[in-house]
């Protein structure tokens, strides 16, 4: 075959597709070559040099991650020369690294530490360079802490920020011994274009980029007898949390998670999926209203296409990069913030609890949710609507701290009220999920019939393709929706901000005629969020997505508008979608930000 190359690694013949690297070929043989700067999602950097191997006939060692496999190559991965070199490279990294591991958030979860462990480094070979360095720690962002003393300059974060997210908040500055990963003029992450998406955090091999954790604050609240601590859990947490607690990727742990939260001492264990359903009611109605204004009233001020607003990384991206399109963003708050506003109003009233005593905690697959919870806009309940935003990873830490044997927990249910949800809410966790959920409801509202897809699976918006377009023709509508008769509803779904940027460029250039755009900041949607268990790979994200759709199909209710708690809240509290009360609590506006 013309497209395969044959080589020999450690005496074993292997053939791989042309274009594959020596590292790929070694993987095929189950030969483990250590790597640090390499990441499956990113372009090859070849800068850490940990993966060097010996190639016969070549004087220098070659970086296996960057070396294309070639016919006739003879490679050795475990020679004296290779071992010495790798040892030196790791020792060099350690000499520049603040290796005070017990004081590090990533202790026991650090790739450099693992490598040092594998090499059994008892005593450092070289001089400690850390005291000479003027390392800084940036703790200003409510989402991400950047600690240069832990950085090994692998540039995974830089590549993530540029390639996957088109943000470039992080870049390389200076050269030589002063070379560092930096922001624009070394401003704090809080002050630059950083969207807080945390994609850098889930790819950082060490503790140089971590989420700002609120573990102590949550424990303090739980132990405070005077506080009523409620917790909400986002759709994508229940299909990923298990990974940090010894389970396979793709394990559904909804019931165990509810049980664990109860054992941790939360007073009420509730579900963001409830407010995801609510989002569909509000956002779906908003879309239909905008369409009516455009098609019937011929209102020139109506902004279409409308984009989703669930992803706080996306919101901050558009605030920085496309502020002229902020009016196109749905005014709906994200499910986290809808939940927060209702927790200290509707929930407090129903339960007869003083809202000032409520501590509202969220478990999110996301680091940007921490920033979002701290936005000054998010005080509509009269208090900070969500007090503490935690990542899936932080919850896993709490479960370990509490000594809970997670795998053996029984399945338990969420509490009520604000604990019931539909399959439509669960799929919010996957790219295309909000679109699919919205279509399930909107189509039915307009036509009185279910969406014309087998078992409600709107497959064109599913999957890991970066930009997915789908058109739904609306026919035989109910009389009050006659203006939509025959309309082809054009939608597009993008995940990862580089893809979001492509979509926005098309909107800007006028080359697109979409009505509705779903954008999630993270690759794969929330299931690949910056707060999810580490590592993230295309394979892991695929398994998480499969789990999400399995969870959806296992639910009794699959459509948001059929969620009884949703029907109840409109009846008892909100009135109808887009009511005054809805506007007060569930909708908001965002602001233009500088591009630095």
């Amino acid at each position: 075959m013309a497209n395969t190359v044959k080589l020999k690694i450690d005496g074993i013949d292997v053939s791989v597709e042309a274009g594959k690297t020596v590292l790929d070929a070694a993987k095929k043989l189950n030969i483990h070559i250590p790597t640090l700067c390499y990441h499956e999602d990113l372009c090859v950097a070849g800068n850490c040099r940990v993966c060097v191997v010996e190639q016969e006939g070549v004087k220098n060692l070659v970086a296996s991650c960057a070396m294309p496999a070639q016919d006739g190559m003879v490679i050795h991965t475990n020679t004296h020369k290779v071992r010495n070199a790798r040892r030196h490279v790791v020792e060099l990294l350690l000499s520049e690294h603040n290796a005070d591991c017990t004081k590090c958030y990533k202790n026991t979860r650090c790739e450099l530490q693992d490598l040092a462990g594998e090499m059994v480094i008892n005593e450092h070979m070289f001089l400690d360079l850390v005291p000479d360095k003027n390392y800084t720690i940036d703790k200003l962002s409510p989402s991400i802490i950047k600690d240069d003393s832990k950085c090994i300059r692998c540039q995974r974060c830089v590549r993530t920020c540029q390639e996957l997210q088109h943000v470039s908040a992080l870049g390389v500055a200076y050269k030589g011994d002063e070379m560092k990963i930096s922001t624009f003029f070394e401003h704090s992450m809080y002050e630059v274009v950083c969207t807080n998406c945390g994609q850098c955090v889930i790819r950082c091999p060490t503790g140089a980029l971590i989420e700002k954790n609120y573990l102590d604050e949550v424990w303090d609240a739980i132990y405070d007898e005077d506080k009523h601590v409620i917790v909400q859990t986002a759709p994508a947490t229940r299909i990923a949390l298990g990974e940090d607690l010894g389970m396979e990727a793709g394990s559904i742990v909804t019931g165990k998670m509810a049980a664990a939260l109860r054992r941790l001492g939360f007073d009420s264990v509730l579900d963001t999926d409830f407010s995801a359903d609510l989002t569909i009611m509000e956002e779906g109605t908003e879309l239909l209203t905008r369409l009516k204004r455009a098609l019937v009233d011929k209102d020139p001020t109506v902004k279409l296409p409308m984009t989703t607003s669930c992803s706080p990384g996306w919101i901050k991206f558009i605030e920085h990069m496309y502020p002229e399109y902020l009016e196109n963003v749905s005014t709906c708050k994200s499910p986290q913030q809808m939940f927060g506003a209702l927790a200290k109003t509707y929930y407090a009233q129903k339960k007869g609890i003083d809202p000032s005593k409520i501590v509202s905690v969220s478990i999110m697959p996301c680091t940007a949710k921490k920033f979002e919870a701290n936005r000054p806009e998010m005080h509509d309940s009269g208090y900070q609507d969500v007090d503490l935003g935690l990542t899936t990873r932080e919850l896993a830490v709490m479960i370990k701290q509490a000594g809970i044997n997670f795998k053996e927990l029984p399945d338990e249910k969420f509490d009520s009220i604000m604990g019931q949800s539909s399959g439509a809410a669960v799929i919010f966790g996957a790219t295309g999920g909000v679109m699919e959920a919205a279509l399930r409801t909107a189509y039915e509202i307009v036509t009185g019939r279910e969406v014309p897809f087998e078992n409600l699976r709107i497959t064109p918006v599913r999957g890991m393709e970066g930009v997915k377009e789908a058109t739904v023709k609306i026919e035989n509508v109910l009389p009050e929706w006659s203006f939509l008769e025959g309309v082809e509803l054009k939608t597009v779904v993008a995940h990862g901000l580089t893809n979001a940027n492509k979509v926005m460029q098309a909107v800007k250039n006028g080359t697109a005629d979409w009505h509705f755009i779903e954008i999630m900041a993270c690759p794969g949607g929330c299931l690949g969020g910056g707060g999810q268990p580490i590592p993230t790979t295309p394979e892991i994200r695929k398994k998480r997505a499969e789990a999400i759709y399995r969870e959806d199909e296992g639910m009794a209710i699959r459509k948001s508008h059929e969620n009884p708690e949703i029907q109840q809240i409109y009846k008892e509290f909100l009135g109808e979608p887009l009511s005054d009360k809805s506007h007060w609590l569930l909708h908001t506006h965002y602001q233009k930000r500088k591009r630095v």
Partner: protein, 387 residues
């Protein structure tokens, strides 16, 4: 291999030719004929690495891409090298001529000169010369344009792939190789990148012929080379010399009578102590050089020389790859610690091993060549490092 006697040569700067004639004649020849001439001449890159120039041109000419480039590397940054400045000052039209002939062979329409940031003062004259050159190309109907891009002072940008990155407006960091520039260079298109001096030699070979060039030098190092001679010498300056001479003869000619060591090839080259002068040939079979020859007499501390070099590399490493970035810092801090007595003399062995690792693991030529000066100075002047 028998060495050659020291002999001054006059090819590069010779004024007995009109560039227009050489160019017109050259452009009339077939590509195959030019390639054969350059290959037969045995010309190797004059920037230091010494890759056969004819092969570079040949590989690039075989690529089928529509767009190709010829790039002149004028980012002369190696400590102790200043010959490209002289060439660009005195015979810029020969440089352009070399680029034009290369462009014809490979099929390029645009050529770029990447000019060292510190050579801004050459810019106005070069622009004027380019104008004249373009006018002549128009006259003879040859479609080729030369542009100048300025560097900004980073040594690493002289490394060819970092140079391309810099030309593309990006941070000057070396790329992974393969692919090599002949396949994917500037803007990821097939590119010939040659040193200033190489281009002039290629141009002059078109005039004097491969045979004449071949008569000079040795089997591995054909022809002559422009040397930048500095340090403890009464006659510092630029000299074009036949390759293959013994360092002993060189020191005889240029030394001040008290030469203790010669640093051949700049900070990334090798240090040769007096006792080895008589066995060392200047050329690819012995100690190669991009032109830098620094002479040190007995008043010099080789510890200071080494520290200066290591400091240079510590600062000029791009910082992306571990062995180079951290290795340079360790070498510097290491020799300082030994000198101060904070580390024992044995630590020199650890540092030597580290330098060896840097040689085999670094991503580009910078990190790979730090060991050249480090090991050759430490090996030959160990006592100066310790006491």
């Amino acid at each position: 291999m028998p060495n050659k006697k020291l002999k001054r040569v006059d090819i590069i700067f010779s004024e007995d030719c009109v560039y227009k004639d050489v160019l017109t004649d050259g452009l009339k020849k077939s590509n195959e004929a030019i390639l054969k001439e350059i290959l037969d001449s045995g010309l190797r890159g004059r920037g230091g690495a010494g890759f056969p120039t004819g092969l570079k041109w040949k590989f690039t000419s075989q690529e089928t891409e529509e767009e190709k480039y010829v790039v002149c590397n004028a980012d002369e940054g190696e400590p102790g090298t200043f010959k490209d400045r002289e060439i660009l000052t005195r015979v810029p039209l020969k440089v352009f001529g070399g680029m034009a002939i290369c462009a014809k062979v490979i099929g390029a329409k645009h050529g770029y000169i990447y000019l060292r940031g510190e050579y801004q003062f050459l810019r106005a004259d070069l622009d004027k010369a380019i104008e004249e050159f373009h006018a002549y190309l128009k006259e003879i109907g040859f479609d080729f344009q030369i542009h100048i891009l300025m560097g900004s002072g980073a040594y690493i940008c002289g490394e060819e792939s970092a140079l391309f990155e810099s030309m593309e407006g990006k941070r000057g960091e070396p790329r992974n190789k393969p692919p090599y520039p002949t396949i994917s260079g500037f803007r990821n298109k097939p590119t010939v990148i040659n040193n200033v001096e190489t281009l002039v030699y290629a141009f002059m070979i078109c005039r004097i012929g491969a045979g004449k060039f071949q008569e000079l030098g040795t089997t591995d190092s054909r022809g002559s080379k422009v040397f930048s001679i500095s340090g403890d010498t009464p006659i510092a300056g630029i000299y074009e010399l036949e390759l293959g001479m013994l360092l002993e003869d060189f020191v005889e000619e240029f030394g001040d009578g008290d030469t203790k060591a010669v640093q051949v090839g700049g900070a990334s080259g090798f240090c040769v102590p007096r006792k080895k002068f008589k066995d060392t040939i200047i050329g690819f079979e012995g100690v190669p050089t991009g032109g830098s020859m620094m002479l040190f007499n007995s008043s010099r501390s080789m510890y200071n020389v080494l520290k200066n070099y290591v400091e240079f590399f510590e600062e000029e490493s791009c910082g992306q790859c571990t062995p180079c970035r951290v290795g340079c810092q360790q070498l510097k801090k290491g020799i300082e610690a030994i000198k101060k007595g904070e580390k024992s003399a044995h630590y020199l062995d650890t540092l030597q091993k580290l330098a060896d690792t840097m040689k085999v693991t670094s991503k580009c030529g910078l990190g790979q060549s730090v060991a050249n000066s480090f090991s050759s100075i430490v090996d030959n002047f160990k006592e100066e490092m310790i006491y």
